[in-house]
């Protein structure tokens, strides 16, 4: 490559290379400098510290629910009735708008069957994050056409397994990581 005066030729010169290299380094430097200003807005260490909550659920008879606050969000804990379980089981998964379980305790591909939505080995227990998957309102329990949850904000309807059946919400209610640490104690997170 000639390093003589090449103003008229299209041939790239050593100077062109230096320009581009300098510009490239400056761009990388600028991006690195901007990053802290963007990242500071992400959840901080205190918010990330994986909060766990433990709840005593022994007082919940079938047909009763309670709401626990976990990471700033409501978690619905429900001891379902026989009727609710049967209704849920009767629905073929293929007919659901969102066919996957959305259960953080199972692989992402798990189907939205009643068994995959309910607690492992305790089919009456349904533990889910009480946040509508549309735009984040808290749905009302035991309401709506399917006797599950109804979101007053834009009318999403969930069934007795918390699966979306009607309305603008795209997904089933999410199920958080949880475990029963004893017969009566539930740990969320």
């Amino acid at each position: 490559m000639a390093n003589t005066d090449t103003a008229d030729t299209a041939e790239p010169t050593r100077r062109d290379f230096l320009y581009i290299a300098t510009g490239g380094v400056a761009a990388v430097g600028a991006a690195l400098t901007v990053w802290p200003f963007i990242d500071q807005m992400n959840p901080d260490a205190a918010a990330l510290a994986l909060a766990q909550v433990e709840v005593d659920v022994s007082a919940l008879e079938p047909g009763m629910s309670l709401t626990v606050k976990w990471r700033g969000k409501p978690v619905f804990v429900r001891n379902r009735t026989e009727k609710e379980i049967d209704e849920s089981k009767a629905v073929p998964v293929s007919s659901l708008p969102d066919p996957v379980a959305r259960n953080a305790n199972l692989p992402a591909s798990a189907e939205a069957t009643d068994a995959n939505r309910a607690a492992d080995g305790r089919e009456a227990w349904l533990i889910q994050i009480g946040i509508c998957t549309h735009l984040g309102c808290v749905p009302l329990g035991q309401q709506g056409a399917y006797g599950g949850w109804f979101c007053p904000c834009h009318g999403s309807v969930y069934d007795t397994a918390g699966r979306i059946r009607q309305g603008p919400a795209p997904q089933n209610l999410h199920i958080p990581v949880y475990s029963f640490i004893s017969e009566s104690k539930l740990r969320i997170g």
Partner: protein, 420 residues
């Protein structure tokens, strides 16, 4: 249009300054000697009203900020303290809250004015785009301001609106959590919204400067939509426009005072006097009235991502309006077909506002869908097509000729030859 300044400093200090920074001359040429079309009507006073309200919002906002505490645990109580304990706190807060409402009222009139008289057309496209940018910044400022009192409506408005971003495929959740600074709307969210709520009005002021600059390069449009042809078509900004603008601003202030003193909570929602509760959504959440048409568009569409896209498109389409309207005649006075569609469009926007305030069920949803479709059809089909098929009425030769004939324009101003 802007002539070079005719300002001649007379006293020594002004001469000294003018040679170093010709700022007095700039103000003189922009707001004193500046030629305005002589046929402007009262719809042209809303620019001045808006400038006034922006300044008023900044002043009331800065004094509220001296008492407000942007922390989840204290925000609600600090606003209550402003209402009950701070001297004249109730007045300052009601001025700020109702000022925001009337700000939107004025900006919507200002925009419909632009649409009726074709003020967005060549050569004022950049002026119009800067205006839409101001609208976007105003929406952001008002939304974040509404979150600050940290009542139930504040909290759930923040939740629903930030969740719009979760509709973005793949990165939606990450973006939403980045906006929140947590896993839900919380104190961290409130704190950053406060910082931005403080910043945005000053950004608006910056864009307003560009907006007025662009205005003074192209000159004002006028009810006839024809260009200024001679000095006879204009009058000096001061005193003519200055006094008229001041009069209109005072009338507007009467409206503001009436709201502040007699209906201070009319535009608000009672649920916002209940402290934010992240575990319970109010049964019927609605945004402030000025967002209702957009809210109706969001809810009209049964798919989350598509609804969010429609919402943003409703504003985005305004940016390209100058290129969608194919007619070269600006003013609707000379466009018999467009004039009718303009009023239909106004009614559709009001209708969407009404539907946004109603629950999302049954007939309301169907009506929202029809009006949402119409909103986009107006811009994307009706406007381009009318421009091609409509036969405009003959334009008057000049503003002065039309004014001197006493009709102020319209069909009577025909081609009676030009003496001027």
């Amino acid at each position: 249009m802007e002539g070079h300044s005719t300002y001649q400093p007379t006293n020594g200090a002004a001469k000294w300054l003018e040679r170093r920074l010709p700022v007095i001359g700039l103000v003189h040429s922009s707001f004193v000697a500046y030629p305005t079309p002589r046929n402007l009507n009262y719809w042209w006073t809303f620019g001045a009203i808006l400038s006034f309200v922006l300044v008023a919002q900044i002043i009331t906002g800065i004094v509220l900020a001296m008492h407000y505490v942007p922390a989840g645990s204290m925000a609600f109580n600090s606003v209550e303290a402003i209402m009950r304990d701070v001297n004249f706190g109730w007045l300052l807060r009601y001025l700020h809250a109702n000022g925001a409402s009337l700000f939107f009222f004025a900006v919507y009139i200002h925009m419909f004015r632009g649409m009726y008289y074709g003020s967005y057309k060549e050569p004022r496209e950049v002026l119009w785009i800067l205006g839409v940018l101001i609208l976007l910044l105003m929406i952001a400022a008002a939304f974040m301001g509404y979150v600050l009192p940290w009542g139930q409506m504040s909290f759930w408005a923040a939740t629903v609106i930030t969740n719009l971003f979760s509709a973005i495929p793949l990165v939606g959740t990450a973006i939403t959590e980045w906006l929140w600074g947590g896993f839900s709307v919380d104190s961290a969210t409130l704190n950053r919204f406060y910082a931005l709520h403080y910043l945005l009005p000053f950004m608006i002021a910056g864009v307003v400067v560009l907006h007025v600059w662009a205005l003074h390069v192209t000159g004002q449009n006028n009810p006839l939509g024809i260009d200024i042809k001679s000095k006879k078509d204009t009058v000096a900004f001061t005193p003519y426009a200055t006094i008229k603008d001041m009069f209109a601003t005072v009338v507007f202030l009467i409206l503001l005072a009436w709201m502040v003193f007699y209906l201070p909570n009319y535009a608000g929602h009672p649920d916002n006097y209940i402290p934010a509760d992240p575990l319970k959504t109010p049964a019927h959440i609605v945004p402030e009235w000025y967002f209702l048409p957009f809210y109706a568009i969001l809810r009209a569409i049964p798919n989350k991502l598509a609804g969010v896209i429609a919402l943003f498109s409703a504003i985005a389409v305004l940016f390209v309006l100058p290129w969608l309207d194919t007619s070269r005649v600006r003013s609707a006075r000379f466009r018999p077909i467009y004039r009718q569609f303009f009023w239909i469009f106004v009614i559709v926007c009001i209708g969407l506002g009404y539907l946004g305030s109603q629950p999302a069920e049954g007939g309301y949803v169907i009506a929202s869908r029809i009006l949402t479709a119409y909103y986009f059809i107006h811009f994307l089909i009706i406007l381009p097509v009318i421009g091609l098929i409509e036969r405009p009425k003959p334009l008057p030769n000049s503003i002065s000729e039309s004014v001197l004939q006493g009709s102020g324009g319209g069909a009577t101003a025909t081609t009676t030859g030009s003496e001027g």
